[in-house]
Structures are given as C-alpha cells and as structure tokens.
C-alpha cells in the first residue's frame, strides 16, 4: 500500500471515538507527512513561500485527509461558521455585481481571519474553511467570465495550504501571512476602484 495512504489509514484506525481533536490531528498529520515527504525528495530544499510543489504534495494529502476527515467527523469535528459564499451560489443566477460584492466580502473576511491567526488548533480548521470558500469563489470567477480573478484566487491556495501546515516556522508563517494580507489588500483596492461589472474586463 502507498505509504501516504497507509499513514492516513492508520490515523483513521485510531479515530474510533470521533473526537474533533482526532480529525484535526489527521489533517495535521496528512499535511505534515506530505511536507516531510516533499522535503525528503529534495536534497537541498530552498523554501519559497509561493512554491506549489510543496503545496501539491499537501494538496494530495489534504484531498485524502479532508475526504476521510469529513466522513469521520460528520458535524462534530468542524467548528460552526456560516460560510460567506452561502449567499453567492457560483454561476447560478449571480450577477457580476453580486459576485463582485461577495468576492469583496470573502477577501475582506479572509484578510481579517489570516491576520488574526494564532498557533491554536482552530487555525488549521479556519484555514481549511478559507480554502474551501476560496475554491468556490474561484469557480464562481470562472463562471462569471473573470479568469484573472480566478487566477489570483487560485494563487492564494498554495499559500493557504502552507499556512495550514503544522510544522511551519513562525517567521515563515509570518512572512506568508504578510504576503497574503498584501495581495488581499491589493485585490480589495482593485475591486473598489473598478465598476461593479469589472469582472468582465479581465
């Protein structure tokens, strides 16, 4: 069996009582194992905040981890948080203006949440929720014929995934948060300075 899958299955085996902490632990493990795997693959790693290769390994682990984690945890493992996107169903009757407003809310909320992140367990959960919402807005951007916005949102994800990793050094996390906050700010400024149907001008 593939080592990644075996480790995830082992984490699964331990999760007999479905406590939220175990689910969180699974996610941490999946992310950290993928990160360790990637580090091992490189002889002399040079950390780069935007490197998605690191993130690609995480993506794989996360896809499995999220799948298993959600199945196991049901509603118990996830802190309640009303998703902003719930009112902006991508592509289904959403006008560009509504999409732009929804996106601005998403960017603003993400910025606020990211700048106030700490090292607690909930930070990982929160980041995974931001990633999920980010993906919805990315899809919505594509459906609203806003490929440039879609690309920017897609570019946020590797950074968010790296922030969700458990073993990231505090100074690296700080650098990533600063980078993301800046990029979110720039996008907010850009959205605010353009007309509501700007998404069609990409």
């Amino acid at each position: 069996m593939n080592d990644d899958i075996r480790k995830l299955v082992e984490a699964h085996e331990a999760d007999v009582h479905r406590p939220p902490a175990h689910v969180v632990e699974q996610w941490h493990s999946a992310i950290d194992e993928a990160a360790a795997l990637e580090r091992g693959r490189r002889q002399q790693p040079r950390w780069h905040p935007g490197s998605f290769f690191w993130g690609a390994a995480v993506t794989g682990a996360l896809a499995i981890g999220i799948g298993i984690g959600f199945v196991l945890s049901g509603d118990n493992g996830i802190p309640a948080q009303e998703p902003v996107i719930a009112y902006v169903e991508p592509g289904v009757g959403a006008t560009p203006a509504a999409f732009t407003r929804g996106l601005a809310v998403h960017l603003r909320d993400s910025r606020q949440q990211i700048t106030s992140l700490d090292d607690s367990t909930d930070a990982t959960m929160l980041l995974l929720q931001i990633i999920e919402q980010n993906r919805r807005f990315e899809m919505a951007a594509k459906r609203n014929d806003a490929p440039k916005l879609a690309r920017v949102l897609r570019a946020f994800e590797p950074i968010l995934l790296q922030l969700a990793a458990n073993d990231i050094a505090p100074e690296d996390a700080e650098a990533l948060r600063a980078q993301l906050a800046f990029e979110l700010n720039v996008m907010l400024t850009k959205l605010a300075s353009q007309p509501s149907d700007e998404s069609h001008t990409t």
Binding site: M1, N2, V16, R41, H48, W54, G60, I64, Q179
Partner: protein, 294 residues
C-alpha cells in the same frame, strides 16, 4: 559598565535601524497597495522604479504582484525579465506572477525558463501553469520529461488540477505508473482506475489502482470494490479491495461480505476492518460473533 549593558548599548543602534527599516518597508508596501487605484500608465513607472531601486526583497516581491495586476505588455515584459534573468527569490515570485497574469506569450516563454532552471524554478513554473489553469503546458512538460521526478511532479500537478483528459493521454504516451495512478485518484477518474483495477498484468499496479479507487469513492466505486473482492484470485487483490473500502468508508459493503463469508479467518479479517471503520453495525456483529450466531 558590565558586559550585558555594553552589549545592549552596542545593539541599540542596530535595533533602531531594523525598526526604522521595517517602518520604511511598511510605508513602501502601503504605497504599492495604493497604486492599484491609479491608472496603469501612472502606476507602471512607479513600480518599475521600485524594482530597479535599492529596496528589500519583500518590497520588490510586492511590486511584482502589483505588476501582475497591470494589464500592459510592459508589465508582462518586466515580469518575464525577472523570471529569466533574476536568480533570487524574485525570480520565483516573477514566475508565479506570470501565472497570475495569464498572458499567453509570457506563459509560453516559461517553457524555456523551465528547461534551463533548477528544481525550484521548475516547481515554480509548474505552479504558474497551475495558477493559469494551463493543463496543456504541464502535459507537454510531462511528455518531454527526461527523468522520473520531473514526470511525477508534472503528473501530480495535473492530478491536482483534475486534468482527466491530459492524464488519460499520458497513459498512452508513457504507460501506467504509480504516480499516474495517484493522479487518477486525486483527479477523481474512477473509470480509468476501474480499468486498471481489473487488469492483472502487473499485480503491483493493479493493487494500487484498487486502493486508489477508494480515494475516489462513491456508490459505483463501492460496488466495484465489493465485486473485485468477491472475484479476487489472490489475497493481495482481496486485501487491496478491503483497503479501498476502508478508505472510501464503505462499511456496509464490508458488512455484506462479512455476513456472506464462511471461512473463520476471513470473517475475522472482515470483522477487524469493521472495527477499524467504526461501523454502526459493529456491536450487532460482535454480539452475533460472541453468541456464535454467525
């Protein structure tokens, strides 16, 4: 004067300088943010000035992001220049920004940057193609890869993008490999995995494909896994099918197999899987097993 006090006095100017430098950077970064509300023809020269000036890497990285948001050929040319000529972190950042910018010519030029770059540069180029949603460019990299690592990295990326067509095409070009099976799983390509899971010509890849089916999951996959288990002609295939069901969470399938099994060793193994899966039916099954009903 004691040593500690002397050290503090010596360090004070350095700390003050660092603080000053930090404040200065923050101001520059705030100014760059504000540039987004300026028209491109006014923003562009200012960003160029920052990139050419003696500023910190952080400030220049932020300037590159601003550049990615300016729709002009000059902006793309500057990004490409950094992607080609710079050898610092700015090169990687510029490559990422070309992905964000999505300019077709600039993206095409990244092919050369990939070929001449080190591992970090190659990773950054793949990431840029992912950001630009350019599966074709990554497919080309995979097809032309001259080593397993580069191929595997490109395939991983295609999997993350859910690029089913390109991945299926690669099977014909490069043959089946573990990395390709992983990518089929991540991209959710159940039909290709099902095909591979039924093909016993390479037992190792077959068991990997069976397990990978579990990652995709879904009703059809669950039925396939039960079918594979029932028709298995080796313990390895049977165990892979069970692992697949474990991963997909198909406990009702395992329960069904448990109830129809007659061999005690097989029943014990299935029971172990039901325990691992935390099946709702486990207590009834345990009760029955202890009572000797089954």
């Amino acid at each position: 004067m004691n040593t500690r006090l002397l050290l503090i006095l010596l360090l004070l100017p350095i700390v003050a300088f660092a603080q000053e430098s930090n404040d200065s950077d923050n101001l520059k970064i705030a100014a760059l943010e504000a540039l987004m509300s300026a028209p491109p023809e006014k923003a562009m020269p200012l960003v160029d000035k920052v990139l050419a000036g003696n500023h910190s890497t952080e400030v220049k990285e932020r300037a590159l992001f601003v550049l990615s948001q300016i729709d002009s050929s000059e902006a793309q040319a500057t990004l490409l220049r950094f992607a080609r000529e710079d050898t610092s972190e700015l090169q990687l950042e510029a490559i990422r920004m070309i992905g964000i910018g999505g300019d077709k010519d600039a993206l095409a030029s990244l092919g050369d940057v990939y070929r001449s770059g080190d591992a970090d540069v190659r990773d950054a180029v793949l990431e840029a193609y992912l950001i630009a949603d350019d599966a074709t460019a990554i497919y080309e990299i995979a097809v032309n890869a001259d080593n397993e690592e580069d191929f595997s990295n490109a395939v991983d990326m295609l999997g993350a993008m859910g690029a089913g067509n390109e991945l299926r095409e690669l099977r014909g070009q490069a043959g089946v490999s573990e990395s390709l099976i992983d990518a089929y799983a991540i991209s959710g390509d159940a039909s290709t995995l099902r095909e591979l899971a039924m093909d016993g010509s390479d037992p190792e890849l077959q068991t990997k494909a069976i397990e990978a089916l579990g990652i995709v999951g879904g009703d059809q996959v669950d039925s396939t896994l039960v079918e594979i288990y029932r028709d298995a002609n080796s313990d390895e295939v049977r165990e892979a099918a069970l692992t697949g069901m474990l991963i997909s969470g198909h406990d009702s399938g395992v329960l069904e197999l448990y109830q129809s099994a007659s061999d005690p060793a097989e029943k014990r193994q299935l029971l172990e899987y039901l325990v691992m899966m935390d099946s709702d039916a486990i207590y009834d099954v345990i009760d029955q097993a202890l009572a000797g009903d089954q």
